[in-house]
Point group: C2
């Protein structure tokens, strides 16, 4: 008998009919002789509705109370799913994040899981029950206040719970069939990957592949819990995210994102401490800086560029300008019309020349590269936003991903 942790997102539990479908899938897994823990999100757009309600009541920020409010969402789903499972003749019991022992930091809205004390979940499993757990939520053991985990929080709950319970697999049910070589809405002949490594998935997720959030992949990697990303609408195999894959593909997939802006601080005096002052200030303001590029200096000054989420662009500009003035830099410019295109593949660790091929493919189409950054398994280029779709298609074809040639 295997122990399976499943996770069903908001779309999968959006109404009574879908909840009964989810119950059917859970019961199927239980009847195949597995222990099953199912982590559920709030129904459909319920979290957004609760946020809208909070905005109607108050224009200000109330982190503790907002978490109290939002956690009502998963509470409704988990009770309904448990009822639907019992109707199929299988005993079920639901637990909030707090009851399931999801202990977090106290940072409301962005809490991190610290520890899981899942003895009530284990007792439920030992009693032969299916256990339903509210995703996205936990409790700060010091204040005893309820917390939420932020975006992708339900995935994180599922993978962390799987790690804590020593589960055999964590199944993430979603509204797509798995992880693709590129976004199928952009590249119609993109193909579904059978498997990717944790390292690749981390890079793909950070680079814009929305199907999994980096934090849950990181949990899976750290505790070596295979993650199976699959459709909640049919039984077919999805994509397995795991330690090693059968084939070390050179290029696994292309990811892109258009939700960032580029900030450049010009003519920064090339003296120690300037970059520290800039990025400390941004971090203190809560701005999530991603790609950072600094070139060699000329005439004692250099340019520093970085990307920030579009939602943080105003505060990033304000903060950067403050530092620029303080250190005597030339100025700050903002470009909101950018996109980032990334090529990811674990084979790039050993195979040279992929970067050169990528740059050539883009330049042959007249696509100008504004910034470059690399990791051992990824190459990212910042380009003009209106060239993003063309760039993804060119790279998908040019790097041999059409018809899944590389998997």
């Amino acid at each position: 008998m295997a122990l399976i942790v499943q996770k069903y997102g908001g779309t999968s539990v959006a109404d009574a009919g879908r909840i009964r479908n989810v119950a059917r899938r859970i019961v199927d897994a239980h009847e195949r002789g597995n222990g099953v823990v199912a982590v559920v999100s709030a129904m459909g757009k319920r979290t957004d509705e609760l946020l809208a309600l909070a905005n109607d009541v108050s224009a200000h920020s109330h982190p503790r109370e907002l978490d109290m409010l939002l956690t009502a969402g998963e509470r409704v789903t988990m009770a309904l799913v448990a009822m639907a499972i019992e109707d199929l003749g299988v005993p079920a019991t639901s637990f909030t994040g707090s009851q399931a022992g999801i202990l977090t930091t106290g940072k409301h809205g962005q809490a991190e899981i610290r520890e899981i004390r899942a003895h009530r979940v284990r007792e439920g499993l030992d009693d032969g029950k299916v256990v339903i757990v509210a995703g996205f939520q936990g409790v700060d053991p010091e204040s005893k206040d309820v917390t939420t985990l932020g975006r992708g929080g339900s995935d994180a709950t599922a993978v962390a719970l799987a790690a804590s319970l020593g589960a055999d697999v964590c199944e993430i049910f979603t509204d797509v069939d798995g992880v693709y070589t590129a976004d199928p809405r952009v590249v119609p002949n993109a193909s579904k990957l059978e498997d990717v490594t944790f390292e690749e998935m981390l890079e793909l997720a950070s680079a814009g592949a929305g199907v999994l959030m980096p934090r849950s992949v990181e949990f899976g990697r750290r505790f070596n819990i295979p993650i199976h990303v699959r459709s909640s609408f049919h039984d077919g195999e999805g994509t397995w995210v795991k330690e090693e894959t059968m084939e070390q593909a050179i290029v696994r997939g292309i990811a892109h994102r258009s939700d960032e802006a580029k900030v450049t601080v010009y003519q920064v005096p090339d003296t120690p401490g300037v970059a520290a002052a800039l990025f400390e200030g941004l971090a203190d303001s809560g701005v999530n800086v991603d790609m950072i590029v600094q070139n060699v200096s000329h005439d004692g000054t250099t340019d520093i560029s970085f990307t920030v989420p579009l939602v943080s662009v105003d505060i990033a500009e304000e903060q950067s300008t403050k530092v620029a003035v303080a250190v005597g830099a030339g100025g700050v410019s903002i470009d909101e019309g950018i996109a980032r295109v990334s090529v990811v593949g674990i084979g790039m660790k050993t195979e040279a020349g992929i970067a050169a091929r990528m740059f050539r493919l883009l330049s042959d189409r007249g696509i100008n590269i504004q910034m470059i950054s690399t990791s051992p398994v990824r190459i990212s280029c910042v380009i003009s936003g209106d060239e993003a779709i063309e760039a993804v298609r060119v790279l998908h074809t040019g790097l041999g991903l059409n018809n899944a040639e590389s998997t």
Copy 2:
């Protein structure tokens, strides 16, 4: 500085605007120098919506999961109210029933409050905060499962919390102005009472005055917490429910209810143990029997009549018929077309003749009395349901309650 526990029902918090109004009222009480704990219900019809959702998902009964589901309702309200209060510059914190230490029995849907361990509420008050508590919910300390208190549960939470905290008053905010000499929809010149005793209010509540549930009045009486029933829409004084009132009115008010059926078991052998068998059976079936009348026997048999809620009439008939057959009674009849009209007043303890006046007033109008039962401060008559409104009006006028002559 006084300590005030307030309770706001679903209508008072039905939307964002009303929630801000409630916050304003709470802050007013706080700014007058009082410690304030506010108990809140689910917004508007949210509890009914959640029940409908449960019915959409499952046709069966899932008591534990239903309580988990329903408690999401107050959770939303309490967080929103706390936000709105903080927006007015007053620190606020919200607690679920469990967090507020409302420990109950394990009977889901109808849990009874056993004990209150309100140390988190007290700490909040000591820190100068307004404390918001979810009504209607608690936790069973043995199973650690969340429970709900059933109908009128939020009032019970408020009064029990007031008792536990040693509050000076429990204010029940509602959509009516207070307790009236009769239902103002039936008797247009019914007048609002300034005060009633706990004993009178208990009788009025049991006899159909819907403004307070008997269980919360009983809490107030037992711990001597004055209850102020008042409108959430304006600042005027409502009705005080307390130990002693200024004037010992002979008749305080008329109550009526039409949500009961009359069950009669005919020709019951007048031997010991028959009534016990009947009512034990009904209690085991969960039927809430109210008024019971048994006359002296003739020829060794007697008739036993009692009222049950209309919703329980089928099970009551089945159970009564079973016992009737077992003991050799003549048969069972059911009348669903009845009403109960009650006259309540603490002065009836010492003043004779009210019963006679009540019966005369009814008979002069040709209204037939089917059952009579009395307590020291109440006389109730079961009559035909279609004569109920006329009976209430006749009694209100005939017993001198028009224009609040008796208060």
